[in-house]
Each structure stands twice: as C-alpha cells, then as structure tokens.
Point group: C2
Chain length 236, copies 2
DNA sequence: GTGCAAAACATCGTATACAATCTCACCACC
DNA sequence: GGTGGTGAGATTGTATACGATGTTTTGCAC
C-alpha cells in the first residue's frame, strides 16, 4: 500500500546510512524504548549499528535538529529531556497548528482517506486491548499516526514534517510527565473527530481536536521537581 | 541589547564551527547573494571558510534540514530551488501559523517590544529609500525580521524556529518567482499590524496579517515553466 | 579521614585518507 | 556523422587518526 512512498524513500532518502540510523533511533525514542536523558555516545551508536563514528554523529546531529536529542558541547548526546516549559510550548504549538491542519485536511479528504483513518483507529483499538510492552508501544505509535495521517491528508509536506516533530516530542513529554497508566490518547476522541469531518461539521471537528489535545495535556504533571534525580537514583 | 542572547549563543551554539558556517551560508541565501540552484560543493565551502570538508558537510546537512539546501545523493548540495508547489505550501503554512503566532504575541507583548518593533520598521523604511544592492539586501532581511520578532515575542521557541525556516524559504521563493522589482513586503502593512495590536483589535490584526501574506503571494508568478532551464542557459 | 590536585581515561571536535560513485570527454564502431 | 562505451577526473560517502576538552580516579598533604 505504501510501495510508492517506500520506493521514493529508498531512492531518495537512502542517501546515506545515517538516515537509517536516525530513523531507527527516532523510532526507539518515540516508542519509549529509550528513556529521556539516556546517553547516546557516538562510539556506542556507531558500534551498535556497525558504522563509524562519522555516521553515528551525523545521525545524532539530525535528531538534535528535530529536538529529540540534545547534544552538549564536548559532552555528548542525550535523549532529550524536555523541561516543563518546553512541554508547554510543544502543546501550545499543537493547539496552534492542528486545527488549521484539520481544516485543510477536511477540504481535501477523500473517501479512501477516511477508510484508512478508520482502519488506523481499529488497529489502535485492538492494540489497546492487548497486554504487553510491545502492544503498548505499537499503540503509542498508532495514536500518533492518527495525527500524522491528518497532516499527510492536508497535502502540505511542510506542515507534515512539522507535525512529525511535534508528535515525536509529545511522546517524550508524555513519557516524562504522563500520569495515567492508561493509554496516551483518548482513543474514542479520534473517532469523534473523524465523524465530525465526515458530517462536514468543521468547527465541531476543530473543537474536538482542541479538547483532545487538552485531554492529553491534562494528564501531564508539569510541576518542576528538582529532586526527581535523587528519587530516581533511589528507585533504580 | 542582545548581549544575553549572544552570550547563550556563544556558549551553546559555538558548539562547533559548523554552526558558524551554516549561519553564514544561510544569511547569504536569505539575502539572495546565493541564487537558487547554485552548487555548493563540500570542498569549495570548506576552502572558502578554511575548514575541512567534514565541517562543510555538516553545515550543508544542517541547511538541508531547514530546506534551504537540497543535497542529492552522490551529486552534491545546491541552494534549494523550490518548486511552485513547494512555494504554495510555504505560504499556506504561513497563513496557517502566523495568525496564531500573532494572537499569542499580542497576549504577551510589552511596551518595550512595541518600541523595538517600531524601531525595526523605521530601519526598514530607511533602507527602502536607499539605493544599492547592500541596502536592498538589508531591507529584505529587515522585512523578514518583523515576522520573526513577532514569533520571538510569542514566547514559543518552537514556533519561532519554525517561522525562521518559513521566512528563510520565503526569501528563496520570492527570489525565484517574485515579479515586482519593488520591495519584498508591503512596508506599511507591518505598521498597520502593530497599530492594530496596540489598539487591542486582535481580529483586525489577524486579518491584516493574512492580507499581508496574500499581498506577498500575489506578487509571485507560480506558473510552471519547464523551459526555464533552457532560457537560463542562454541568458547566462 | 577529608579535601584538593594532578594524571589517566573517556569522549568529543576536526582533519585527513581511502573507497565508491558520478560526470564528461574522447575514441571506436556502426 | 551519430551512437555507445570506456577511462580519467572530480566529487561525494565513509572510515580512521589525532588533538582538545571533560570526567573520574588516584594519591598526597593536612
């Protein structure tokens, strides 16, 4: 189904092995196999993927442009540890752009797109009912994919890329500050948004989107906690 | 006035010499000293800045993430040559985000900020009346800085970075498809927007912003022209 | 035993070197 | 004369090497 997109990827983005490493690490971060603050030394990354430090470094640099890793001069790269302030900005940005993306997507959406969206939802629901870490991780990814697919449907590749960054960073924020052990996204809300789009109730769809984002944010505990490092040290 | 920001830059972003090279090239692109399509070979860039290809390559990679340079596998880096479709997407993105940024900026703006904005406008007007290439270039930069300062005032560094990318890429688009030899931005429109903010007429300010963006877009000729390459070859 | 200093270690920053790929000119052949 | 292949040159892709910077550990003095 994605053969065309994949072919283009393989042709264009196979540009260097660094891209592959970047994608692999990003996926690991988004699926929360890598925790915020984890050190990603160039040598280790290079050894892990059997490439030289040159490529490892390029991959880490790329991830730092996306805000997923922070590189500190002469100290190394770490999985980003967004501050509460950054977290607020990320969700502020999402509140700002997602209604607009939704409007553009609604203007161009096809029945096929709706089918795909509903398929995604089904998959998401299935994963939600399953047990186990891998199911949980796949669910996190699927939940983000809903927002990304809307961006893709909007037809604006710039906004799409921007949303990819925001969704990925959101995953980091939820990993850090999320409270509920439940799902990362209110699942049913995604369905409601699709329904509103189908019914051509654009304003309501935007309202639902804003509420949806607000719900995710409401599950965060963004209080500063300086002593977290100490606590963690004990709990580990 | 920017000592704090500069210090942080010097401390954080002097991370590598690559940053400096990246900034220098970006400035050259935004000020249109480098035309779209110009080849930027790693060796040449390296020699120009007296560094190795390693750093030159890193700088070019960074610029490619911002969409200002396109790197083609095994072929090299070129100043980006945005297609009409890309141009449309860039301005579509600006229409989408700038009103939102404006609203957030208006909510946090201080009298000091307004003073700075007006200073910027004055500078812009002064440059507009001057003759010469350097004045024209400075004017282009100042014109973009107005939009960037609004993003800075909004206090959301993520949106700020995104706007930096959009403004820079807009400059490329205008260089390619702009028709009027006149200024890149309707200068007075910037002033009108500030006035609307001061008067707390937020909706009107947003309308003005949208009109402003529309004016810039209206000056573009985004028709596809396949034969351009041939023509250019002759005209060169 | 505590605190500081210096050296050893680990890691990053940058340069250089070699391999892979592309471009283009030149020549043989049709 | 045009077409296709082949080889030299140029440019990028990747690896390795060396110097610079930060961190840890060791040892000595108090």
């Amino acid at each position: 189904m994605k053969s065309a997109a994949k072919a283009q990827q393989a042709e264009d983005s196979a540009e260097t092995g660094a891209q592959q490493i970047r994608d692999a690490i990003r996926e690991a971060i988004v699926e929360r196999r890598l925790s915020p603050g984890t050190k990603l030394s160039e040598s280790d990354v290079g050894n892990l993927f059997s490439v030289s430090r040159t490529l490892a470094r390029a991959a880490l640099q790329a991830l730092s442009y996306e805000g997923l890793v922070s590189v500190e001069k002469n100290r190394g790269a770490f999985v980003a540890y967004p501050s509460p302030e950054e977290a607020r900005q990320i969700f502020s940005a999402r509140r700002l752009v997602e209604p607009g993306i939704l409007r553009e997507a609604a203007a161009r959406i096809t029945p096929d797109d709706i089918t795909h969206l509903r398929q995604l939802l089904l998959e998401e629901g299935r994963l939600m009912s399953e047990r186990g870490q891998t199911a949980r991780r796949a669910e996190i990814k699927a939940s983000g994919d809903f927002h990304l697919m809307l961006a893709a449907i909007s037809g604006n590749s710039i906004m799409q890329r921007f949303m990819e960054e925001l969704v990925a960073r959101s995953s980091l924020v939820i990993a850090l500050y999320g409270q509920s052990t439940a799902s990362s996204c209110g699942h049913s809300e995604h369905g409601d948004i699709i329904s509103a789009i189908e019914a051509d109730e654009l304003d309501r769809a935007c309202q639902l989107m804003l509420h949806h984002i607000a719900h995710i944010e409401a599950d965060l505990d963004l209080r500063e906690r300086k002593s977290l490092g100490l606590k963690e040290a004990f709990e580990l």
